[in-house]
Symmetry: D2
Subunit: 295 residues, 4 copies
């Protein structure tokens, strides 16, 4: 929420993510550790699933001179002085680092468009490193943005070959997070596993309602009065991974399936963009099959 | 939407509900029929599922002097002049008639409270004729409103006996519509059938997500970011009847199941009150397993 | 709401807009008129500001073979048979006709982007005929869409000259409706008058709160918990014309003015796109300083 | 968000509210102070208006054995060890303490009803100590809840006398916070000053739109598409105090002023109840003419 207006400020700004069994003294230990190094805590959010015996999550934003050059030693010291004692899993990140996204698409362009615009306008603090389509149609949507588009067809009988190509492209483009922006293929568990918690999908329903194919047709058939969209981390169980964000829009008896799709596109792109934005700002922590989102 | 300020105006105001196969000329025939009798059409809403071969729904509000004393002959004339020709199923209703509600409850009072308040404040244009509880607790909630409360326990092994008692109470109280206001019993198909499309339930989830028991626990377990409520007509398939209204409220990782219940209560009571209000104003038409709601 | 899938169907589909003093018989007369010509009424919406002595508004969608070639004679007959008798102001329109939009912009691109994308995706049933900027920056946003962009600088001391140029461009491009898509200039009453009810602006606040400049700074200063946007027809009184659509988004103490602008951009573009979409489908009727919107 | 299920747990649970000029080390100092006394931090939220030179706000929830008997000495130690050094304004509170509310009403009961019901259901963690009406009508709404109702008429020419009576009643009832629940009188600055930041009003518009009398009539006249309500602390400037919460509901051309009032009642009561609930849980900090709300 604190906008950072220049690169000097950004180089100072860090984030610390902590997850561990809840126990007294963690906040004191973490804040003392940061204070002793001259860091100023700008924002801090915490969550415990249960004060006695639950799991504790913490996200701290702080300013520290010279941070971006000293992430690694800071981590080593944190292990020695704090993390070891409390069984903490943690990560330091520099706000100066912009995540690199790989976006997967098929033929529908709204989710992709939203990410492209939000990146260009500065609303999405990340870089789209590559767009990969199993169809070639969206190349001309991507072209004006000067971002590489790769067409990787997915043969029904040889998905592993396509995924191998995709994985190589992601590696070469040094991608941090993969976004399935209405990518109409199911990815295999071989693909999912290495990208766990870094693979975001937008599902065009309010999960867990209408899992699977054609959710708008299902919604129309059921006569619901709200349709929705769900951004979630992909796991090997279809449409069942940790939910990052959801939203809905009102419909009524007058809306055909096609109209629901049109309205749904607006919900989908907004929900996906919010989820990706939180993810690249390290605001989303995974807690089993749920998320803790520090907005 | 047109407020009616006095009983004379209310005695004039009528509603005509029409449902038939779509075909040209229906609106012209209906509006001429009303015009020739001196009626002024105040509001008119229509819906067709498909202009060629679909089903057509129409709700007309009109003012006609002396209406409330002439509903029956008006119907006979309508059969002769219009309905017969077009295969129309129809109903004339006087806005002067207030539906009588039978409200079923268990131990939770929020949905009942809302109906009681809205009736007293005039926001719900209906009368609560009787409240029936399978537990005695809510009697003192009902008492200050001067409405009869009946405790009808439901023995596990003799639900038919309880339902027979309930049906007799409803009959004696001349009830038009039954509202299950967080009534925690499943009613049998013997009960449901005669009350088809006049039996409204509030389910504490955004259906079709979380059908069945403990939807808030299910929602918490799944980690959804919105919780909802659904008002629907009860059919013999559990939680699967035509949806009248739904709404949602945002939650996040901090909300426990108990907190979700607390937030959900606010959604449930509002959704149920809206659905009942539309129903008693003849704004809800059933189209197969869906509703057409002319708000 | 009834999607029209092919050009033959579109050529049949017509709209009739009616406005007149409320009085009995209008609906009957209009529907008989249409029926006698073989038209099938597909949708009909009406509104009266007061059944006794108020103003009556009607929008009818109908299917009539050969309509698009016969709009003019249909109008003449309607005058003779119906409109004259009831003092009706009316308009027949063919759904086959796509309005031509002139979009005015300055430097911010989000509202323009939304219109461009919705047009391309088919969600906005209109054509953007020309984009006019008082700054040159957005030319490259428009370029990939193959739509003409004209840079018309507005000199502080010679706005009339600029407006003369703009008016000529609009005329040459045969524009039906002008959309101010975050155009940061006040237009003069000389410009407004000929475009009355065809000139739509998006104001970046929930009007009538925060009229005038810098509404997000005003909103931040006041500490509101929701920020909004308002699409309205432009009249000669600043930010005071008939409101077509409004929406809001939640903010809190953490949001800076810059953050509010970012969130606001999402609300603005959606609100403007909705308003323009309703307008070009003849769903918006102006009633004094208010609108009747038949969604 | 952490529900406290029994009185033992509640006796342990404390809250610390901190406000001071932002500077490095505050969080470390506060968390060390709590840790050294054996407190476990359960929740912590902070806000800075500007990391360099702004104002810093902190709310900590913690568990500490024996807290409720040791609030005073804890405060003294906090002054000595932390608050003095950082220029901190602070307050310790026990979650075991339930605030006592004085509710002012006139003739409309919806806002009062909501508070009564939420208190009884346990959703509002406070006690309504007294209800004061300038009209006698709502006595029978209050009666079933066993809460004292006092009728204090307000003579046009002697408001000071009425306010003196009100102040004495509040004092005798040991009221902590006054809630104006659709109280249709303007209170004088003599009344307001001693209750600064403990006097909550619900205004029936989305402030700052429609300040003053008859906001729904103003909203109808302006033709807005959303109507709202605003809960705020009362200051001596009319309808201009720090906003705690706002919400809106959609309306359209069909809604009369009376219909807007009916819809508005639903928004008002929900917004007021939320604001009061946050206030009594010490979640609202006043920052000049704005609020910081740690939900």
């Amino acid at each position: 929420m604190m906008p950072i207006d220049n690169s000097a400020a950004r180089a100072r700004r860090g984030r610390l993510l902590v997850s561990c069994p809840d126990q007294p003294g963690i906040v004191a230990a973490v804040s003392r550790f940061l204070f002793e190094r001259g860091a100023n805590i700008v924002q801090s959010q915490q969550h415990t699933t249960d004060p006695s015996g639950g799991r504790f999550f913490l996200r701290v934003e702080f300013d520290l001179e010279g941070l971006s050059d000293n992430i690694a030693p800071l981590g080593s010291e944190f292990v020695r002085e704090v993390a070891g004692r409390y069984g903490i899993v943690f990560r330091f990140a520099s706000a100066a680092y912009r995540q690199r996204l790989g976006v997967f698409v098929s033929k529908e362009d709204h989710a992709l468009q939203e990410l492209l615009w939000q990146q260009r306008s500065g609303d999405l603090p990340a870089d789209i490193a590559i767009v990969i389509g199993n169809h070639p149609q969206l190349e001309n949507v991507v072209a004006p943005f000067g971002i590489p588009f790769r067409h990787v067809p997915v043969a029904k009988d040889d998905k592993p070959a396509a995924e191998a190509t995709q994985l190589k492209l992601l590696r070469d483009a040094q991608v941090d997070t993969v976004v399935l922006a209405r990518y109409m293929q199911i990815v295999t568990s071989e693909f999912i596993t290495p990208w766990a918690n870094r693979l975001i999908n937008i599902h065009h329903s309010f999960l867990p309602a209408f899992i699977g194919a054609n959710p708008y047709a299902q919604a129309h058939e059921r006569g619901v009065k709200l349709i929705g969209a769900t951004a979630h981390y992909v796991t090997t169980e279809l449409d069942a991974g940790p939910i990052i964000e959801q939203d809905v829009h009102r419909v009524d008896h007058r809306h055909t399936v096609e109209e629901m799709r049109r309205i749904g596109r607006q919900v989908e792109r907004v929900v996906l963009a919010r989820a990706v934005s939180w993810h690249v700002q390290d605001r989303v922590l995974v807690d089993g099959n749920k998320t803790v989102v520090f907005t």
